[in-house]
Homo-oligomer: 237 residues x 2
């Protein structure tokens, strides 16, 4: 049952056996703990139980390790967004909102990945593998926007899907960066990041001519009430 010295740490011989993976995991933990800037190469080596020079057998330098993490992050991000999109089921608009929530959930649940992906100051364009992975993640949002754009009601101008995707991505990224994480940079928030994003997306879609009110336009429950907006969806009192 013991295939490699993968499991436990019985007695690490001279060779680690799986150092590259161990370094990635160690770095991930350290970034989550002390931020992308505070993470050090030597610390990762110490975490993995090897000398400070060992990592250089697997990564050219600290930046390459960071880039590997960012790339893996984009791959997981793509998977998460793809699953949330679920090819637009059960309906395009609600699947689209699910993608938005998945975006925020990823930023919150995987701060280390998110940090490496967006806040590590890595030059994105010099690493083709990295920028390709990033592009694939974005293409999920873009594909969803294409489907949404195709649903534009008749008589309404059809927006460019790429522009829609960039808007939604920007708002998601802005909310995640400014308000999305645990306790950092938190301001007086009247609502959760998720609700903020959902309301923003609904308002935006309404601005494009989509009908987004899930209540019937003439709500029998509020015949004389004030007009309602998408931001009321969760605040029914």
């Amino acid at each position: 049952m013991s295939w490699r010295k993968d499991h436990r740490r019985p007695e690490r011989g001279y060779h680690h056996g799986n150092l590259k993976e161990a370094l990635l995991q160690a770095a991930l933990g350290l970034i989550a703990e002390k931020g992308a800037a505070g993470f050090t190469f030597a610390d990762a080596a110490r975490s993995a139980g090897v000398s400070p020079a060992a990592p250089y057998r697997h990564f050219r330098d600290r930046d390459e390790l960071l880039a590997s993490i960012a790339q893996r992050g984009f791959e997981q991000f793509e998977a998460v967004l793809t699953r949330a999109w679920d090819d637009g089921r059960p309906d395009t608009v609600s699947a689209f909102e699910r993608v938005g929530r998945a975006y925020l959930a990823f930023a919150r649940d995987e701060p280390a990945y998110y940090s490496a992906m967006f806040e590590s100051g890595l030059p994105t364009d010099v690493n083709p593998m990295l920028s390709a992975a990033s592009e694939r993640a974005f293409s999920v949002i873009r594909a969803a926007a294409e489907r949404l754009a195709a649903l534009t009601p008749p008589g309404v101008a059809r927006p460019p899907a790429l522009m829609m995707a960039l808007h939604i991505w920007s708002m998601s990224h802005g909310i995640a960066s400014l308000f999305g994480r645990g306790d950092a940079a938190r301001r007086k928030m009247p609502m959760s990041a998720e609700d903020l994003l959902e309301a923003g997306v609904l308002i935006y879609l309404r601005g494009l001519g989509f009908p987004t009110d899930r209540r019937s336009p003439e709500d029998p429950n509020a015949p004389t009430g004030r007009p309602r907006g998408p931001w009321d969806q969760k605040s029914a009192t």
Copy 2:
């Protein structure tokens, strides 16, 4: 004999005379050059022509210097946004868009400040002066949103101004972070960051019920043309 200061500075006595300011300026240049992460305390000292220990007479540590820069950045940011808002002249909506463009212009023209403010990983809440400065900058956007919210057409639900401000800020910040800077993280962009933000804001405002089309609704130049959206505002062919 070797000059004590590598640069031609008239005052080269034992005391610098204005070291704190010189360090701030030096750090600003270094951050612009090598990013917030790459900037080193010793480098700033060298730039100012003093020993590596001298900066400790003015800043507790590297983070405090970074925080000082971030604070000054928020102050300049506030001034820039306030000037752009110009108390809502000549009309609220166009002044609001001017604020958005000013946001992007600041991120582009002052990457060092922007980096220190938003990308340096500083704990915002532990420094009261810093978070207050950040709050004051945000309050400009918030005040503009208040004025905008007050203009909600009759019969349309009035959105919470704070929510509007958070949405606009998020989109601005997202665009600035993802697409706003010189050559970093640039993707296939169908339009400039400024136009992207302007279109996004107009669509968002339309979603809130604001009339935003600057063309007359029945445009005589396009009597049989396709329907138009805010994204067409700049693309008149």
